[in-house]
Point group: C2
Chain length 419, copies 2
Amino acid sequence: MTRDLKELKGIAEAAAGAARGLALAAPEKRDQTLAALADNLAGGSRNLLQASEMDTDEAARAGLPPHMLDRLALTEKRLAELAEAVDRVRRLSTPIGQTEDERILPDGLRVARLRIPLGLIAFICEARPGAPVEAGALAIKSGNGLIVKAGREMARTSAALAEVFARSLAGQDLDPRAVTILPPLDREALRELLTLSETIDLVIPRGGEGLIRFVSENSRIPVLKHFKGVCHLYVDQGADLKRAADLVVNGKTQRPSTCNSLEALLVHAAEAEAFLPPLGRRLAGLGVALRANQEARRFLPEAEPATEDDWGREFLDLILAVKVVPDYEAALAHIARHGSNHTEVIVTEDQARGEHFQRSVEAGCVMVNASPRLNDGGCLGLGAEIGISTTRLHAYGPMGLRELTTTRFIVTGHGHQRT
Amino acid sequence: MTRDLKELKGIAEAAAGAARGLALAAPEKRDQTLAALADNLAGGSRNLLQASEMDTDEAARAGLPPHMLDRLALTEKRLAELAEAVDRVRRLSTPIGQTEDERILPDGLRVARLRIPLGLIAFICEARPGAPVEAGALAIKSGNGLIVKAGREMARTSAALAEVFARSLAGQDLDPRAVTILPPLDREALRELLTLSETIDLVIPRGGEGLIRFVSENSRIPVLKHFKGVCHLYVDQGADLKRAADLVVNGKTQRPSTCNSLEALLVHAAEAEAFLPPLGRRLAGLGVALRANQEARRFLPEAEPATEDDWGREFLDLILAVKVVPDYEAALAHIARHGSNHTEVIVTEDQARGEHFQRSVEAGCVMVNASPRLNDGGCLGLGAEIGISTTRLHAYGPMGLRELTTTRFIVTGHGHQRT
C-alpha cells in the first residue's frame, strides 16, 4: 500500500464513520447544519472571498482562460446565491427514515422498506466552488457522507470551504469529517482513491468528458455519470412550427455550454420547406452556425455541409447540426444511433406519436413539446440535483435527493420460520 | 480486438437489439412466451433429460463430488418444478410500462416516470440448470435481454435449454436472441465479456465467493451481487427464549449451505445461563458443532473455543459460532465489524429496541423475531428473486422483478422553455 493510499484510506474510513453518525442523527440536526451552512456562506464570507481571490489571481497568472476564471471566482453575489441554494435544499422534505411498501404477508410477517442513505459518496469536480457546496448540502440533507476532490486551481477556496462545512457540522455536535473536502490530488492519488470500494459506496464525477472517462475507467467503485449530452429535437409532420422554432432557439441558445442544450435538429421532410428557411434566418441572427445534410441545405443556404462526425457531436457552442429525415422512423433510427441517453425531444401535435416516442426512445429524459434545457432536477420538480445519469443502474436522468438514497428491507415476525 | 472479444461483442449486440424488441412488445407476448417456456420444459423434456444425463455421466467420470452432481442433474420432477416456477413468474404483475409519480408542475409541465427494463443483463452462474431457467423467466417478464454463461459441466444441458428458450420466444415472433445461453467460456473469454460495458447494462453473478470475486474484479459493467452471507442472530435481554431457540435451529439447520443461513449467535450475558445449555444440547442432537467465546463456553461444555477467524466466517455447514456479549451495544459493534450486509436478526420483546436495530444495523435485510432463512424474494412477497444484493447501489437485499427495472423521466409540455 502506497503512502497516499494509506492516508486516503484513513480519511475515507473516518468520513464513513462520520456518515453513519449523520445518517442516524435526528433530521432537525441535519437541517440546522444546513441553516448554519447557509449563514456561514452568506455572513462569514471574508475568508472565502480572500481565498477565492488568491486562487483566481494565481490562475490568471498561469494563463487560465477567461471562462474558466469566471467559473472559479466567488463573489458576494455568488455566495448569496449559494446560501439560498443551500437553504432551498434544507426546506425540501427529508428523504430518509420513512418506511415504504409496507405489507403484511398472509402468514402475518410484516415486510417493509426503510429509506436509508447510500453511505459515503466521493464527488469529483473541476474548479467550480459552487459544485462542492451544492453536493455537500444534498449529502447532509440525505444523511450521506461526502468526500470532495475539486480542481487544484481552487485549492485555497477548497480549504476555506472545508472550514465552513466543518464549523457548520460541529455546531450541531456532528462529526465534521462527514463532509471532507480534500486538498488537491494528482491523477495518481485520484486513481488510488477510486480503488477504495470497501469504504466508498458511490462516485459522482462532474465535469468534462475527459475527467469523467478517467474516473469511469479507473474506478472500482460504482460511478453515476453522464459522459456527454447529445440532445436531439425532432419536428414531426404536422407539428406547430412556431412552437418548434421557439423550442429550437431556447434549446440551442439559452445556455449553449450545458449538457442539456440542443445539439441536433431533425425535421420531417414534409415540414422542411415551411420550417427551415425562417428558422435559419432567426438562428443566424443569434449567431448560431448550422451544419446540415444535403436535403436540409436546400432550405438553409447559410449552412455548411455536415460531416459524418457532426452527428452525435456535443458542440457545447452556438453550432447546430440539422438533418431532414424522410419520416418518423428515420428520426428514431438517427437518435438510436447518435443519442447519448441524455435528453431527447419531439415536437408534435399527435398525442399517440408523442407517447410512442417517450416509450421507445432510449434516454433518461424524453420530452414532448418542451425544451431540453428543462431536463434539470430543479426544473423537473426534484428540488435540486447532484447530476444527470445516462446509465440505467440505480438512477436514470436527473438525480435528486431520492437518488442519493436506497432502501433496506425490514422484516418483523413473531417467531416466523422457513419450512 | 481478439477473436473471442469480436465474437462476443457481436453476440451481445444481437442480444441487445433483441432485448429492445422484447421491451416494446405487448405484455401478453411476454406472458405467452413464459407459458410456452413452461410447457416446453414440462412437456418436451426428452432432449433436456438426455443432455443432462450425458453431462452428469461425464462429470461423474471426471470425479465431480456428489453434492455437485446432484445440483447438476435434471429429472422429470425437477423439470416440473421449474415449469411451475416459470409459470409463477408469468402470473406476477408486469413490472414495466406503467407511469409513476406523475405530477403537474405549477407552470403546467407534466413530469412522470415510466418504468422500463434495464436492457441487457449478463447472468453468470455455475453448473445448476435451474438458475438460467429462473433468470431467463424473470428477464422475459421484465422485458430485459439476458446472456447466460453457465458452468462448463452443464454444456449439453445449456445447449438444450438454449433451444427451449429460442423455441418459446420464436413462437411469439420475438427475436430468440433476447435470451442467449452461451456455450462454455473459459476465464479469459469471460473476462472479455465483462468489458462490454457499451452493450451489457448489468452483470449478475450467482455462485461461490471465488466466481463472484472474479466477476467483480474484472467487470467494467456494474455488478449486483453478494460475496457471502454471514448472518447473525442476537438474543436480547428479556427475549422469548423458546422462540429464540426455535429461530436459531431453523436458521442454522433448515438448509445450512445457503447464504441466508445463520452463522453466528450473539447472546446477551443476562440470558446466557438460561438459554445456552438447553440450546447446546438441542443443537448437538441435530449434529451442529459449536465454536464459542470463553463466556459462552461456561454454558456450552461441548463447544470448541472460537478462533478470531470464526467471527465473520461463512461456514455453509452445520457449524455455529456463539458469543456471549455484555450488552446490546456490544452486539451492534460485533455485527458492524463482522456482518456482510446480508441478513441480521434480533430476537427481542422490546419493540423500541427492535426498531432501533432495524434502523441502525447495516444490512439489506434486518429482521425482528424471524428466521434469516426468510430473506428470500419468494418468502418476502416479491414473487421471485434473481439474487440478493449486499451493496446499496440500485438494489439492496433480495432482488425481484422491480429490481430488474428502472425509470425514465417522461415530460410533456406545450412549448415550455427555460428562462
